[in-house]
């Protein structure tokens, strides 16, 4: 049956949540890369600085998007009072702690840089390790939030957190590369960007594997299959994400790595590949959200499909109950 016709897709989580998940991924991914660089001794690198700087603002803007989606945002604080109950409540704490650590690390790095005393270095190292733990938690949380939603079989897969973590690392990586190419510029960025292009190509290849595994697993069961079929019919997903958001950046990153001349073209190859990869990351999350379908209900050999709850009522149909 055509999923468009039975229309049993969820409509409640849309763009605000997609942007929230996307920015959460960027913040977590960028910080993980920046803090890892810091720990291995590349404190003076532009990639380290950018990674540390991006974490906090990305999460802050993402949290604003989440608040914008809440029906009663003034009660959001209640979620923090029951951290053991729900993944959303756990996420409240994971993201809050990560934001604090990222902010502290960012400020300390801004004012002290790499030229720190031994004591200061060890404090930053502790913050970096704790920050990485919570950054990975934030990246995983964006997927776990969906995979614990029992009402949407498409999301209820262990592959969703894997896809979202890999995609978070990819988008975090691309954000840093975009910043390095456009913000820092200069010929001295050529070699670091070449190395990062190789890393990005490996991460994008991993994301391809993860998304193929996720969709293949979805096709194995009737309820998620409907969502998988629907997502593969979406032009934005196939062209916007798979082709322009994964395939093209993968080729551009390989080209940039293989040729220093290409990598040196700051305003073309790398920014283009990174920007496309970022747009792809947003499309991935939005597509996964809007293609989430309610399971079919069965009774006495009959299958009962449902019309989605209307997000906005169209004039004149308000009196018609959904069948």
């Amino acid at each position: 049956m055509n999923p468009e016709a039975n229309g049993q897709m969820q409509r409640e989580w849309g763009w605000w949540i997609a942007i929230y998940l996307f920015l959460g991924g960027i913040g977590g991914g960028a910080y993980t890369i920046g803090a890892t660089n810091w720990l291995i001794g590349d404190g003076a690198e532009a990639s380290t600085a950018l990674g540390l700087w991006i974490g906090f603002p990305a999460l802050a803007i993402g949290s604003i998007c989440l608040l914008a989606d809440l029906g009663s945002p003034t009660r959001a604080i209640l979620a923090g009072m029951r951290p053991g109950t729900s993944w959303m409540a756990r996420g409240f704490w994971i993201i809050s702690i990560f934001m604090i650590l990222a902010f502290v690390h960012f400020v300390l790095h801004l004012f002290t840089g790499a030229s720190e005393t031994a004591g200061g270095q060890s404090l930053l190292n502790i913050i970096a390790v704790a920050g990485i733990v919570f950054a990975v938690g934030t990246m995983a949380y964006t997927g776990i939030l969906l995979s614990t939603s029992k009402g949407i079989p498409f999301w209820r897969s262990g592959a969703v957190p894997v896809v979202f973590v890999v995609s978070a690392l990819v988008t975090g990586h691309f954000t840093i590369m975009l910043g390095m190419a456009l913000g820092f510029g200069g010929q001295e960025m050529t070699e670091p960007l070449r190395i990062m292009a190789l890393e990005a190509a490996v991460l994008v290849a991993l994301e391809v594997l993860a998304i193929v595994f996720f969709l293949q697993a979805a096709f194995a069961h009737p309820d998620p299959r409907e969502s998988a079929e629907r997502i593969l019919r979406r032009r934005s997903f196939v062209v916007g994400y798979f082709l322009l958001g994964l395939a093209v950046p993968l080729v551009l990153m390989i080209l940039a790595y293989r040729s220093a001349a290409v990598a040196g073209g700051y305003l073309t190859t790398i920014p283009l590949g990174a920007a496309l990869g970022l747009v792809g990351g947003l499309i991935l999350r939005q597509s996964v959200l809007v293609c989430g379908a309610l399971p079919t209900l069965n009774m006495g050999g009959f299958e009962f499909r449902r019309i989605a709850r209307p997000k906005e009522l169209k004039p004149g149909i308000g009196l018609m109950p959904p069948t």
């Binding site: 049993q8 969820q10 409640e12 989580w13 989606d69 809440l70 029906g71 009663s72 945002p73 009660r75 959001a76 209640l78 979620a79 009072m81 029951r82 109950t85 729900s86 993944w87 959303m88 409540a89 409240f92 939030l145 969906l146 614990t148 939603s149 029992k150 009402g151 949407i152 999301w155 989430g292 309610l294 399971p295 209900l297 069965n298 009774m299 006495g300 050999g301 009959f302 299958e303 009962f304 499909r305 449902r306 709850r309 209307p310 906005e312 009522l313 004039p315 004149g316 308000g318 009196l319 109950p321 959904p322 069948t323």
Partner: protein, 227 residues
């Protein structure tokens, strides 16, 4: 709170034990002919806004033309024993009462809609704003004004809402509105823990089933098979 309440009143010298009921519903699919009376009765009794249907009716088809059969399936909140909506609620707004009815405490709900994603039966709604039933920006009719006010007292906008087995009516000794309104007597409401109740007898005698038991939520709404 204990499942068993001891009534202090003395009846002929002996103490009467009052057990907390565990409410459930039986829907006889052989009797249901899909008239939507339950849907409309629910809307009238609970003043639900446009687009919100705590009681709904699904239609299913089986067979191949010309030998096809059409079946109606009334659905509502299944008041699950193990509600997945309760598991995911981050604020504690979703509560299971002692009588087994799952409710939303409107003053605690932050409107994250996570519970809507968690309910495999799709029984929950969230109202972002109250809209008129009528098009072209017409002002609310007096009935709509009354309904809106009643809804705001009961639930309001920006929070999750769901069927509560008409708690107010049940407290007054009545059946839920959908049960009262069913012209075919296809819906029966009662205490699942009482072996002498009609619901228990029907489930046992006619092999009542729950919808999609594989979800693992242990619903308390049972269906008697259509054929």
């Amino acid at each position: 709170m204990s499942d068993v309440m001891v009534d202090a009143t003395v009846n002929h010298g002996s103490t009467v034990e009052m057990r907390m009921p565990r409410y459930g519903m039986v829907i006889d699919l052989k009797r249901c002919y899909g008239c939507y009376a339950c849907v409309m009765a629910c809307k009238t009794a609970n003043h639900t806004p446009p687009g919100v249907f705590w009681a709904r009716l699904l239609k299913g088809e089986m067979g191949k033309f010309p030998n096809t059969v059409r079946q109606s399936l009334p659905v509502l909140c299944m008041q699950c024993e193990e509600p997945s909506c309760l598991e995911v609620c981050p604020t504690g707004a979703t509560v299971k009462l002692d009588d087994g009815v799952v409710i939303v405490e409107k003053d605690k709900c932050m409107g994250c809609k996570y519970c809507m994603m968690a309910c495999p039966y799709g029984a929950r709604y969230s109202v972002e704003k109250w809209e008129s039933y009528f098009p072209d920006g017409l002002p609310l009719s007096p009935y709509e004004e009354f309904t809106k006010k009643a809804w705001e007292e009961k639930s309001g906008v920006g929070v999750a809402t769901k069927c509560d087995f008409c708690r107010d009516r049940v407290a007054d000794g009545k059946d839920p509105a959908c049960v009262d309104a069913c012209p075919a007597n296809a819906r029966i409401f009662g205490d699942l823990d009482d072996p002498d109740s009609e619901v228990s007898w029907l489930i046992k005698t006619y092999r009542g089933e729950v919808l999609n038991p594989e979800f693992g939520n242990k619903p308390k709404v049972y269906y008697l098979p259509p054929r």
